[in-house]
């Protein structure tokens, strides 16, 4: 027990005396989550649009007002002729032009039918799709209101509801993603580097020639980084709740427990990596290549796994991050309970056990 305590203490000395790494460990999560949350978001806010209103009646004015009032659009130009449309697109000032035909409100009242033309700049197809979607929603809203007033029977209106994330906020997607990425990086990379450092500075030789048991060595190497990762987890949660307005909808303790499980999986990965790398640089590079890239590409939060070809889908199953990302999304965003995530949790438990077993078996009690 004494051996264990002094070893953990020593490990913390290493961490706290290396100011640069310390700064990276604690600032990286905050910087990344804010970066992903604000700057690199894929939602579209305040798009500039232009309006060509050939009708100028009660309805068009209201629709224009609604578009302008929403946080997605900024009506900044009023066009006067059809010819202006092409010019304004070419100038790149707007992303969408809304065209109302003459006698818009009239035809809506008398023939119950009116048309609006939404012209979007589809050189960026994703943005174009998204903003026309937004605009359609706003116009539908207005239409519903009109219907409510005039009470025309038998009209089937599709009702769209965006569950769990009604405002379609990108941050809802990124918080679990960044959480996954940071935990796997900190836990796995730091653990592997910490063990390999002992080899590199030669202290491993003396530690091996001591009565210290390999299991104790491994556990006491892992504990400090599990603890650090938990601190990071709390930081991420605080930042996401307070700055990014992403709430923890599910049970906080369940979320913490699942995160602890994932941290243990990541630390086991780090132990594995430390088994077959010899220098700190090697360990770092290997962690980056084998953890960061799969997490980013196959973790599911950058690119949806369902749309990948099946070999990649199959490979994604062995990426622990994928499972943890599913858990966090379910628990944190959807607010689901353990009964909904036990399968994913079981996968992580199994992965940890296998990794721990391998790294313990492969632990070298000698130098070569």
């Amino acid at each position: 027990m004494k051996q264990f305590i002094i070893f953990v203490k020593k490990e913390f000395y290493h961490i706290f005396r290396d100011r640069k790494s310390l700064l990276i460990i604690f600032l990286m999560p905050i910087v990344q989550i804010i970066l992903f949350g604000f700057a690199l978001t894929n939602e579209i806010k305040n798009s500039n649009i232009a309006v060509l209103d050939n009708s100028k009646d009660e309805a068009t004015v209201k629709i224009i007002q609604r578009l302008d009032a929403s946080r997605y659009f900024e009506v900044n130009t009023y066009l006067h002729s059809q010819a202006d449309i092409e010019n304004i697109f070419k100038s790149g000032k707007v992303r969408m032009v809304v065209v109302f035909p003459p006698n818009f409100y009239q035809s809506l009242l008398h023939s119950n039918k009116a048309q609006i033309q939404l012209l979007a700049d589809a050189s960026d197809p994703n943005t174009a799709t998204t903003i026309t979607q937004y605009a359609t929603n706003i116009i539908n809203d207005y239409q519903q209101e009109l219907n409510g007033q005039t009470n025309i029977p038998y009209q089937i209106q599709p009702q769209l509801r965006m569950l769990y994330n009604p405002q379609l906020k990108g941050t809802y997607n990124f918080v679990p993603g960044v959480m996954t990425m940071i935990l796997v990086l900190i836990a796995a990379m730091m653990t592997s580097v910490a063990i390999v450092r002992e080899k590199e500075i030669n202290t491993m030789e003396v530690i091996l020639v001591s009565p210290l048991k390999p299991l104790l060595f491994i556990v006491s190497k892992a504990i400090p980084y599990i603890f650090l990762s938990l601190v990071n987890l709390i930081t991420i949660l605080i930042v996401s709740v307070s700055i990014l307005d992403v709430p923890v909808n599910g049970n906080l303790f369940l979320l913490m427990a699942e995160s602890l499980l994932f941290i243990i999986t990541s630390v086991s990965l780090g132990l594995m990596i430390s088994n077959f790398t010899k220098t700190q640089q090697e360990a770092q590079m290997f962690s980056l290549m084998s953890l960061l890239l799969p997490t980013l590409l196959l973790g599911g939060f950058m690119f949806p796994i369902e749309s990948m070809p099946w070999p990649l889908q199959a490979v994604s199953n062995i990426v622990p991050s994928k499972w943890f990302y599913l858990i966090v999304k379910d628990v944190m965003i959807k607010g689901l309970g353990f009964s909904q995530v036990w399968k994913e949790s079981l996968v992580l438990v199994a992965m940890s056990l296998v990794l721990l077993f391998i790294s313990f078996k492969k632990f070298k009690t000698r130098l070569a």
Binding site: Y13, D18, I201, E205, V206, V209, P211, R366, L367
Partner: protein, 307 residues
């Protein structure tokens, strides 16, 4: 007297099937309990490989070895419980203070600084004024003292010191050897390796090792005695040219530079008068030639040339 270390026909090779390097080639020797035994040889002679096999860090390719009666392969756990090891490369935590390093190593060896303080006291008092200083900021000599304290703190019965004085200044080297003499008095068996031949004289017995082979094992005195022939010390005003000319002289067996003199061994039929005539012909001035007693280095050179 009990035998502390037994090495029998140890072979160690490195590399793949295509290209193997033999680091230790059929080495055998014994070290008695309480002995200060030196492994003397240049870099690459196989000293570190031998130490790593004896400290259970490497497996030998062939042969057996035991420390304190325990086999280094089969009973490696028992061996680890009773040896102290100071590897060649500085292996303390640079970012931990002197005190923290010592406490750490004491604890992982299941002991405490207080328990065995008397053992390290003499050494530790010298570095105690700097106990709050980080190990990375210590001088080379102090680092070695701290490393020795860390290797000693659990009162090992056999102490392995792999080139403890390499890269340490002359004064600290002397101090270090004084410390080893004191440790020997406490009954600890010490196996020490060094590339410095002058340190061999400070050991009880030495093994001269070269290219993975032991050339001679004996007390330093006996090794010196076994030197064959009369050794001369010679110098002149132009030392480099002198060395070259002496090596070309037909009566020369060997000539090596040795401090301010060259050590020269002549063939039996050669004599000093003829040598001086030869050197005068070569325009050497200020020649000083005298008989000298051989030291370990001369013996090493002689053994090396013989093989």
């Amino acid at each position: 007297m009990m035998i502390a270390i037994t090495v029998k026909n140890i072979v160690k090779t490195y590399g793949t099937k295509k290209e193997t390097i033999t680091a230790l080639d059929d080495i055998s020797f014994e070290v008695n309990g309480g002995e200060l035994f030196g492994i003397i040889g240049p870099d690459g002679a196989g000293k570190t490989s031998l130490f790593r096999i004896l400290t259970t860090l490497l497996l030998p390719k062939g042969g057996t070895a035991s420390v304190d009666g325990f086999d280094v392969v089969k009973d490696y756990k028992q061996v680890r419980n009773r040896v102290g090891y100071m590897p060649g490369r500085f292996s303390l935590y640079q970012d931990l203070s002197v005190e923290e390093n010592l406490e750490f190593f004491a604890t992982i060896f299941n002991t405490s600084i207080q328990e065995n303080y008397n053992l390290i006291k003499e050494i530790y008092v010298q570095i105690e004024p700097f106990k709050k200083r980080r190990a990375g900021k210590l001088s080379g000599g102090m680092k070695q003292k701290l490393a020795l304290c860390c290797a000693l703190i659990h009162k090992p019965s056999v102490l392995f010191l792999d080139e403890p004085t390499t890269g340490v200044d002359a004064v600290s080297r002397k101090e270090f050897w004084d410390m080893l003499q004191n440790l020997k008095k406490q009954g600890i068996t010490i196996l020490v390796s060094t590339p410095y031949m002058d340190e061999a004289a400070l050991c009880d017995r030495v093994a001269l090792i070269q290219l993975g082979k032991i050339m001679s094992i004996d007390t330093p005195q006996e090794i010196v005695k076994s030197f064959k022939g009369q050794l001369w010390a010679i110098r002149s005003t132009k030392m480099y040219a002198l060395l070259k000319d002496l090596k070309q002289y037909e009566g020369t067996i060997s000539c090596n530079s040795f401090g301010e003199f060259h050590h020269l061994l002549l063939k039996d039929d050669a004599n000093e008068k003829e040598l001086l005539t030869y050197l005068n012909q070569q325009q050497h001035t200020g020649i000083e030639l005298k008989k000298t007693a051989p030291v370990i280095e001369d013996c090493f050179m002689q053994l090396m040339n013989k093989n």
